[in-house]
Symmetry: C2
Subunit: 477 residues, 2 copies
C-alpha cells in the first residue's frame, strides 16, 4: 500500500479509511498515543494504538526515534489539540532506536549539543523547521529571478584567479601537501598540479557573472563561496552560499530597487509557504527571549519583524549622511563605541551599522556612495572622484546582508584603479574584455544566503541555519 504524507493527512477535510503512513516516533505516551513525524510538516500526527491487542514486545520497541509503518483509519480526534488522528490497525517497527543510546530525546537540547550532532539535529522540531524554511527560501530565490528572465549562471568554484578581492582564499591542489614537486628554484611546481597552476576556492562569482551579464543581460549566481578567515563569530562561515545577480544597463538606483524588491519577495514567499514552520520559530524565539533580561528582548516578534520589512521602505542613506549621524550620536560622543567616528572616510564597524539600523533608523538601511578607498577596485567612481557607487544593505540583528555596486564600466578608469591597487591586469585580461568590447553601465550585488535564513528564522547563530557548518577547526561530517 502506498503511504500518505503526514502533511496531507493533517490537511484532510474528512476522515479516510485504510490509510498507510511511515515515519519516526517523536513521543509515545500511556502505551497508546504515538506522535508520528515524517518531516513533511512540523506537526506530528497522533496515532492511537489498541495496546490491549498489541504484543508487549512491540509496544516496548515504540521508542523516540524509531521508524515505524502504520496502517489504520484517519478519524476525527476525540482529544483536544488535533482535528484528526489515526486509529492504528497495524503497526510495524522498521528500525529500532535504543532509548539508552539515542541522543535526541524528547527534551530541550542545547544548540551547542545539537551542532555536535548535526546529522541528527534535523530530527528536532526547530531544525526541521529551519531546514524547510531554508529550502523554500532557496526556491524563492530561483523563482524571483527566473520569473523575471534572469539566467542562472554556475560560476566556477575552483578558480585560477586570486584577484576576486573579497577575502582570504583556500588553496585547492592534487599535489601532496607536504611533499610537492619543486622547480629548480625550489618553489612548488604548480605546472605539475592538476590544473597546471595555483588554484583556490572562489570567494565570489561576480567577475565571471559580469561577463555573462554583458551578453545575456540579466543573470544571477547561487552557489557556495568560501573565506579562509579565522572569524569565529555567530555571523561567519568558512563555506556559505551566496546569491549574486548582475544586470546590464542597471545603475546603482536600479540595483538598490532590485535588491529591496528581491528581499521582500523571498520573505513574503516564505511567509506564504511556511506558515507552520514560521509560527513555530516565532514561538521558539519568544520562549528563548523569556530567559533574557527585558532590555535585551526584541521589541518585535519574529513574524512582526518579517512583516515590518515587507511593509516599510528600506531607508536609503548616503555614507556621508551616515557619518554625520554617527559623529553626532550619543555613543560616539560618550566614547561608547570601540571605534570612535572622527571624520569622513572612516570604515564603518558593525557597532556603527547596528546603531544606524537598530537605534537611529529602526529599519533596514541601504548605505550608498562609500569612499573609494575602503571599497573594491571594480566599483564605479562618482564624479566627485572620491566616492564610489557602492551600497550595503544592513538588517537589524544581522548587520550586512547585501553588498553591491554599480561597476566601473570605463576601461581607462578601471585600469588606473587596478594599477593603483596592484591588481594584476594580465590575470584579469578576460574581465577587462567586457570593458573593451561593448561596455555598458551595469550593477549587481551579493547576498549571503545564510544571513537571510538567519533573519527569516530568527536564529542567533549562523551555524544553525546551514546543514553542516564549516568554521575554523570544524569540518565534521
Amino acid at each position: 500500500m502506498k503511504h500518505t504524507k503526514v502533511k496531507d493527512l493533517l490537511n484532510s477535510t474528512k476522515p479516510i479509511d485504510g490509510i498507510s503512513v511511515k515515519g519516526w516516533v517523536r513521543t509515545f505516551r500511556n502505551n497508546q498515543f504515538l506522535a508520528l513525524n515524517d518531516g513533511s510538516i512540523i506537526h506530528n500526527i497522533q496515532c492511537v494504538i489498541d495496546f490491549e491487542n498489541t504484543p508487549a514486545e512491540t509496544l516496548k520497541r515504540i521508542t523516540t526515534g524509531a521508524a515505524v509503518a502504520i496502517n489504520g483509519n484517519l478519524v476525527e480526534s476525540k482529544g483536544s489539540g488535533q482535528q484528526f488522528e489515526i486509529q492504528v490497525t497495524q503497526l510495524e517497527i522498521l528500525g529500532d532506536s535504543d532509548p539508552e543510546k539515542y541522543p535526541i530525546q524528547p527534551k530541550k537540547h542545547s544548540l551547542e549539543f545539537l551542532r555536535e550532532n548535526a546529522h541528527l539535529r534535523v530530527r528536532t522540531n526547530s531544525f526541521g523547521a529551519i531546514m524547510r524554511v531554508r529550502s523554500v527560501l532557496s526556491f524563492a530565490v530561483h523563482h524571483y529571478f527566473q520569473d523575471r528572465g534572469f539566467v542562472y549562471v554556475n560560476t566556477p568554484i575552483i578558480t585560477g584567479s586570486d584577484a576576486e578581492g573579497a577575502g582570504e582564499m583556500f588553496h585547492v591542489t592534487s599535489l601532496p601537501i607536504g611533499n610537492p614537486p619543486k622547480t629548480e628554484e625550489g618553489n612548488v611546481d604548480y605546472k605539475e598540479d592538476f590544473f597546471g597552476k595555483e588554484t583556490n576556492l572562489t570567494v565570489s562569482g561576480q567577475l565571471e557573472a559580469e561577463t555573462f551579464a554583458m551578453a545575456l543581460g540579466q543573470v544571477y549566481t547561487f552557489g557556495p563561496t568560501f573565506r579562509a578567515e579565522n572569524s569565529n563569530t555567530s555571523r561567519h562561515l568558512a563555506e556559505f552560499w551566496m546569491i549574486e545577480p548582475e544586470v546590464a544597463f542597471n545603475d546603482l538606483d536600479a540595483n538598490m530597487d532590485l535588491a529591496e524588491d528581491f528581499i521582500k519577495y523571498v520573505i513574503r514567499y516564505a511567509l506564504e509557504k511556511c506558515p507552520e514552520d514560521l509560527t513555530f520559530l516565532n514561538q521558539r524565539l519568544k520562549d528563548e527571549e523569556k530567559n533574557k533580561p527585558m532590555a535585551e528582548r526584541s521589541e518585535m516578534s519574529l513574524l512582526e519583524k518579517l512583516r515590518f520589512v515587507l511593509e516599510n521602505n528600506f531607508k536609503r542613506v548616503s555614507y556621508t549622511e551616515a557619518i554625520d549621524i554617527l559623529k553626532n550620536c550619543k555613543p560616539n560622543k560618550k566614547k561608547k563605541f570601540n571605534y570612535i567616528i572622527e571624520e569622513w572616510g572612516a570604515d564603518l564597524q558593525s557597532e556603527h551599522e547596528r546603531y544606524l539600523v537598530e537605534k537611529h533608523f529602526n529599519s533596514p538601511v541601504i548605505l550608498f556612495d562609500y569612499p573609494a578607498d575602503i571599497k573594491a577596485f571594480y566599483m564605479r567612481l562618482n564624479d566627485d572622484n572620491k566616492t564610489v557607487r557602492a551600497m550595503d544593505i544592513l538588517f537589524p540583528g544581522i548587520g550586512e546582508i547585501v553588498g553591491g555596486s554599480q561597476r566601473e564600466e570605463r576601461l581607462d578608469v578601471l585600469q588606473q584603479k587596478m594599477a593603483e591597487l596592484g591588481v594584476d591586469e594580465e590575470e584579469l585580461k578576460w574581465y577587462l574584455d567586457t570593458r573593451r568590447f561593448g561596455s555598458a553601465v551595469h550593477s549587481g550585488f551579493g547576498l549571503g544566503f545564510e544571513r537571510l535564513v538567519l533573519f527569516v528564522t530568527g536564529m542567533g547563530n549562523i551555524r544553525d541555519v546551514i546543514p553542516f557548518p564549516r568554521t575554523p577547526q570544524n569540518a565534521d561530517f
Copy 2:
C-alpha cells in the same frame, strides 16, 4: 526612459510608439539594418537607422559587439524574416567594439576557439541558447522536487571525509603548500590547518543527504562536486554540478520510477519553456551533422530525440540479462569490443553500455541489480548475497546519466561490508547512526547535471555546456 526587452518587443501583438531598447550589435548591414541582441531571447530585433540623418562618425561606431541604446518606434516590418522592427529615432553608442580586435566576429568560430574565449562565447547564438537552456533546466530541477515536497539540502563542499567513495579528491588547505608545519614525526601537521584536519572537496553529498532524508523524508541536493581524475574526455569535468535526491521508504523500484519521471519532467519543461533556443540547437546539430559521413549521423534530430525520451518507457534490464545480451552479441563474438564480455561479474565499459542503449534497445536503459563486488559499500545487498540494488540510467550518446541505489539499511550488514572494504567505521560513525536509530529502507540517485544539459542541447562536448569548464590543465577565468 525604462528600456524594454527584445523578447517582449518581438512577442508584441501590435506596433508601439516610443520604445527604448538596449543591447549589443550583432550585425550592421547597408549602413541601415542593425541586428540588436540583448540576451533575453536568441533572436535579434532589426533596428532600421535613418542613415542620412545620422552622423558618419556614429555609423562607423556601429560595429559587431558594440553596446547601444536605441529609442524609436516598433513598427510592422516591410522586409521578410521578421514581423516587427524598430524605426530608430535616436541611437547612442554606449560602448565601442573595435572590429580589428573583437574576437567574436559574425562568422563561424570553432568550438575550441570559443572555449578559449569562454568569457565572450556566450555572446554567440549557440552559447546564449545553451546557457539559457541550462538555466531553465536548473529551475525545472528545483520545480520538480519542491512541488513534490522535497527539501533542498546544501550538503558541504569541503568535507573532512575521504570515504565518499566516488573518486579521487582535491585537497583543500590554508597551509602553505610545500612548506606546511610538520609534526615531530615529520608529517604535515593538519592540526595547524584551517579545519584542524585534512579536508577535501566533496565527490558526492549522498551520505549527508541520507541523514536528512531520515528526518525530512524526501530531500535533494543540487550543488558542485569534484573529481581529481585525469580524464581528458568529452564526457568528464573536474568540477560539475550534481543532483542527488534521497527518499526515505523508497525501494529500488520507486527509485527508478522517480528518476525516470524526473528526467522526463525536466526535458518536457525545457521543451515548453525554450522553444526558440531548442529549435536553434536542433538546426545547429543538423548543420553540424551534414559534415559527417552518413553512417555517423543521428537517425533522429535533437527535438525528435527529446520527444522520444518523453514518449517511451526507459527499458529496465537486470545486469544479468544485460550480460546475456552482451555475451551473445556480434561485436562481442567478433571481438570488436576492447573488453570482451566473458562472464557474469564483468564491469561494463562504455562500449558495452553504448551497444545496449544505441544498438540493442535503441532507448534509454535502466540497468539494475549489479554484482556487489563492482559497486559501492552502501548499496543494499539482495537476498542472493551476490547482487546489490543498484541502478544506472544510460542515455544514447551520453552514457551513464544517473547512478543510484537502494541503500543498505541493516546496520550489521553495512558494518560487515565496510570492514571487508576497509572503510573506516569511526570516520563514518555519524553515517552509521542513521542505521542505529530509526533505520528504514531508503533510496536515492545522482544525476550529473552537465550530462543532462549535453543531452538536451545536443552538444558533443561537456566543456560546452558549463560556463567555465575545469579540466586537467585548465582552470582559466
